[in-house]
């Protein structure tokens, strides 16, 4: 039993184990992967016979597959591929590797993987795209929160805003150019309920959500530009989006008030693709409810009286303009450290006394003002701006950090639907986008800083590759598949199943045939056939092989009898010895093979 097989298997398991931390143990598949790995490791420890070791490799292969079903991202994919290769190499070392070097075994395993490529391609293109099979409820409680936007917005209780440089999301655009800075509002959470101090989400049943752009998809949509998002784990269901687009997966839903949601919150990173559509989204036209006007009476009396003074204006647009004029006519200052506001009359203190705060304060005060003026309004939090990164390889993308978090308002204008209004923008251009303060707080010694920047650069490069990968596999979704099938087979797809089956079988046979060809470099049968042709010729000239004679000895004997064919016979004898018994590289083999054929033809056509 070869020792290299054991080491290859250990390596394969180690690579597979490296993928474990990224799994979502909220789903049964995560536990299945961990269990498979544990089982394989235990089996490896106790394995004595070839059958048992074979089982270890098979378990590793299944583990790779199960991990692949959960983690289609670039790094896990590379790890899974490596694990598969090592497991195959272990299996090969076990079955045929006696005396083969490590490199030979690894090369063969690569050949096996390559042979499987046509089948993989076919499956990728043609197997029906299914939504994730495992949509069991999460085993994890809501307490396991990770960084992200909070479901509640209470700016008054925040004395100072920390600059959190943790990555939030990355988005790449098929047009490869980012939207202009004014368009970079990525909405995540809609806060509608207001208790005088805190804005919170409206709990909405999942039934009320619809797929984004829930309209019959047309071929034109497929060709349109798209965005690929990669979102870090977040405690909320809501995901960033521009408020418009068509999702690639039915996992994505849009709530009544325009939040893009995933079915389950998760600890794993999420990638999704949104195709741009021109149609207005349903949530933008959905009329407001009473919640969007409610304001607890007496919580902020000064604010209410100011807002009510605008009720005399007939049009909501005019009330909006009045509010903007009021904000710009007073000196407000943007500050990340405004200090906490009192629990009672918090917004009054902000608007009429301190007049300094961050986006949350402005959005909160403006929305309350609009409600008191009788205009339906709500607070939206999400991300604004982002850093446009152009990596050396991969896709250019927008890098969103937690420090890019922002809050703004939406107001309902009867003829135009919900409109975005950003009151923070009225208090000075530098204030609205907090991107300018990157890293100033974290500045340490210059060496440390250089190290940090270097790591940052490396991370940006990696993210670029990562996004390119995600764009590739996300881009080929159900709709693209449908379009491809339609293009290939037209609308008549009666025999498609048979065609698929035939194609798969054909490709499988092709791969197996190639493997077979790889494994029999001797091509013995052709040599055997030619040998019999030579023997037939010699018999015709009256030369019978003696019992036990080798071909070389026969040729030597024949040369005495057929002096005219000396050279051909000598060449045949030489080539036969080499082709049959020597260890030849492919080029040498081809050369001797050609010489053998030439000599054979010479012998056949000699008079």
């Amino acid at each position: 039993m070869s020792r290299s097989a054991r080491w290859l298997q250990i390596l394969g398991l180690a690579v597979l184990a490296a993928g474990l931390p990224g799994l979502d143990y909220g789903s049964p598949l995560g536990w299945l992967s961990a269990g498979l790995l544990l089982l394989a490791a235990l089996k490896l420890a106790e394995a004595r016979s070839v059958q048992e070791r074979r089982l270890v490799s098979l378990l590793t292969l299944i583990g790779c597959g199960v991990q692949g079903a959960q983690q289609p991202e670039l790094l896990p994919s590379v790890l899974q591929l490596l694990g598969t290769g090592l497991a195959l190499a272990g299996l090969l070392a076990l079955e045929v590797g006696e005396g083969l070097s490590w490199r030979a075994v690894l090369r063969r395993s690569l050949a096996v993987l390559l042979a499987a490529l046509p089948m993989a391609l076919l499956l990728f293109l043609l197997v029906p795209r299914l939504d994730p099979l495992w949509t069991a409820p999460s085993l994890r409680g809501p307490g396991a929160a990770v960084t992200g936007l909070s479901a509640d917005l209470d700016p008054g209780s925040i004395a100072s805003l920390a600059n959190d440089e943790a990555p939030a999301a990355r988005v790449s655009f098929s047009s490869a150019t980012p939207p202009d800075p004014q368009g970079r509002y990525w909405r995540v959470i809609v806060h509608e309920r207001f208790d005088g101090r805190r804005w919170s989400r409206l709990d909405e049943p999942a039934k009320a959500t619809v797929p984004p752009a829930n309209a019959p998809s047309s071929a034109a949509d497929q060709a349109g530009p798209s965005q690929v998002w990669l979102v870090e784990p977040s405690p909320v269901h809501a995901l960033p989006w521009a408020g418009t687009g068509q999702g690639s997966s039915s996992q994505l839903r849009v709530s009544r008030n325009g939040e893009l949601r995933r079915q389950l919150p998760g600890r794993e990173r999420l990638a999704y693709l949104l195709r741009d559509v021109d149609r207005p989204q349903a949530w933008q036209q959905r009329p407001p409810t009473l919640v969007d006007l409610s304001l607890p009476a007496g919580s902020n009396p000064q604010l209410e009286s100011l807002g009510e003074s605008w009720r005399t204006l007939p049009q909501p647009e005019q009330r909006l303009a009045a509010a903007q004029a009021w904000f710009t006519s007073h000196t407000f200052r943007y500050s990340r450290t405004p200090g906490a506001l009192p629990a009672r009359r918090g917004l009054d203190v902000f608007l009429f006394e301190r007049r300094e705060g961050f986006c949350g304060h402005y959005a909160s005060a403006f929305t309350a003002l609009m409600r008191s003026a009788g205009v339906p309004a709500r607070v939206v939090s999400g991300y604004l701006g982002g850093r446009w990164v152009q990596p050396l390889g991969g896709t250019p993308y927008l890098d969103l950090r937690q420090s890019d978090a922002h809050a703004w308002s939406e107001v309902w204008l009867p003829n135009r639907g919900w409109q975005r209004v950003d009151p923070s923008a009225w208090v000075g251009s530098s204030a609205s986008n907090p991107v300018g303060v990157v890293g100033s707080a974290a500045a340490g010694s210059s060496k440390l800083e250089g190290w940090r920047l270097g790591m940052q650069w490396l991370q940006w490069q990696w993210w670029g590759l990562d996004l390119a990968w995600n764009r590739w596999w996300l881009g080929f979704d159900q709709a693209s598949q449908e379009a491809l099938l339609r293009r290939l087979f037209g609308d008549q797809r009666q025999g498609l199943g048979l065609v698929l089956l035939g194609g798969a079988g054909g490709l499988l046979a092709l791969g197996l045939g190639w493997l077979q060809w790889l494994q029999t470099p001797e091509r013995g049968d052709r040599l055997e056939r030619d040998l019999h042709a030579v023997l037939r010729l010699l018999r015709r000239w009256g030369i019978e092989p003696a019992p036990g004679e080798t071909f070389g000895q026969l040729c030597l004997r024949a040369r005495e009898r057929l002096p005219g064919r000396r050279e051909a016979l000598q060449e045949l004898s030489r080539c036969h010895g080499l082709l049959r018994f020597a260890r030849l590289n492919p080029t040498a083999r081809a050369r001797h093979w050609a010489a053998w054929r030439t000599a054979l033809r010479t012998l056949q056509h000699s008079p």
Binding site: P547, G548, T550, A582
Partner: protein, 294 residues
């Protein structure tokens, strides 16, 4: 075809032992295959000359022991002798501790002594009073024996014959060679220049062991073995060890022929020397039973 790498040595030994080129090449193949050699012949046929020429050709240390009926195992292996000055025993190695040992007339010694020699050949080490002493490397035993019809001999049983990779018989030289011999053309073995040293021999042995054997060739050897074991063939047939020896000898032969791979012709060349003494009959008869056209 590549040149034969040991041809200079074969030619040089040919000037010492006239007209025996085939036997010399077989003896060299046996040496390269790390096997031991049994030369069975009448006295005065050049057995000792061949052994000495082989040892000199590779610059190996050479000892000769004439086996007699009163030779004891300790006379071969050496004994622990008492050193009065240091008041302790120390090991005094016997003639077995040389790289080439010529065991002359091995069938004259008692079975007990023969057995001690054959044990040492197989194990590559000698145990005296419970202490094991490794034999030098390379280690080659060339044993000679006279025709077994002579009086006062203990012929080697088959199981011990099996320990020798090859059995050669030099036979009478042809008339031409004998005339040259009588004319004084043969050089003494001492005049041989070493072809290489012991390290070079070890490298050659390693090279011989890695000569390529294709599946077709191994199938040929297996067919020969299967044929020898058939019910209509006399005797029990070739043992797996005999087959191993056959392949090892064929590998060494192919190296001597200047090839990097083994062909059926190599197997056929060494088959009589390797198989005759194991089968107790003419092994060349096997060849006609197996198709060599492969």
């Amino acid at each position: 075809m590549a040149s034969r790498p040991l041809q200079p040595l074969i030619t040089a030994i040919g000037r010492v032992l006239l007209g025996k080129e085939q036997a010399v090449q077989l003896a060299l193949a046996c040496l390269l295959a790390r096997g031991h050699l049994l030369i069975e012949d009448l006295p005065g046929m050049g057995k000792t000359t061949l052994a000495e020429a082989l040892a000199r050709g590779f610059g190996l240390s050479f000892k000769r022991v004439s086996f007699t009926s009163d030779l004891l195992p300790a006379d071969l292996t050496g004994i622990n002798v008492f050193d009065a000055a240091n008041t302790r025993f120390h090991f005094q190695p016997g003639p077995l501790f040389s790289q080439v040992l010529l065991a002359d007339e091995i069938n004259r010694a008692s079975p007990r002594t023969q057995s001690a020699l054959l044990e040492a050949m197989a194990a590559g080490r000698v145990s005296v009073d419970g202490v094991s002493h490794p034999l030098p490397q390379p280690f080659l035993v060339i044993a000679t024996q006279n025709g077994i019809d002579q009086v006062g001999t203990a012929p080697l049983p088959e199981s011990q014959l099996d320990r020798f990779l090859m059995r050669l018989s030099l036979g009478f030289p042809n008339r031409e060679a004998e005339r040259a011999l009588l004319g004084g053309a043969a050089l003494p073995p001492a005049s041989l220049e070493p072809f290489c040293d012991a390290t070079g021999l070890l490298e050659l042995q390693r090279q011989a062991a890695t000569q390529h054997c294709s599946t077709a060739l191994l199938d040929y050897v297996l067919d020969l073995a299967a044929f020898s074991r058939r019910a209509d063939q006399p005797g029990p047939g070739l043992s797996p060890r005999a087959c191993q020896g056959l392949v090892a000898a064929a590998r060494a032969w192919s190296l001597l022929e200047g090839r990097d791979h083994v062909t059926p012709a190599d197997v056929q060349a060494v088959l009589p020397a390797v198989a005759d003494h194991r089968l107790q009959r003419d092994a060349a008869a096997l060849l006609a039973g197996v198709d060599g056209l492969r």
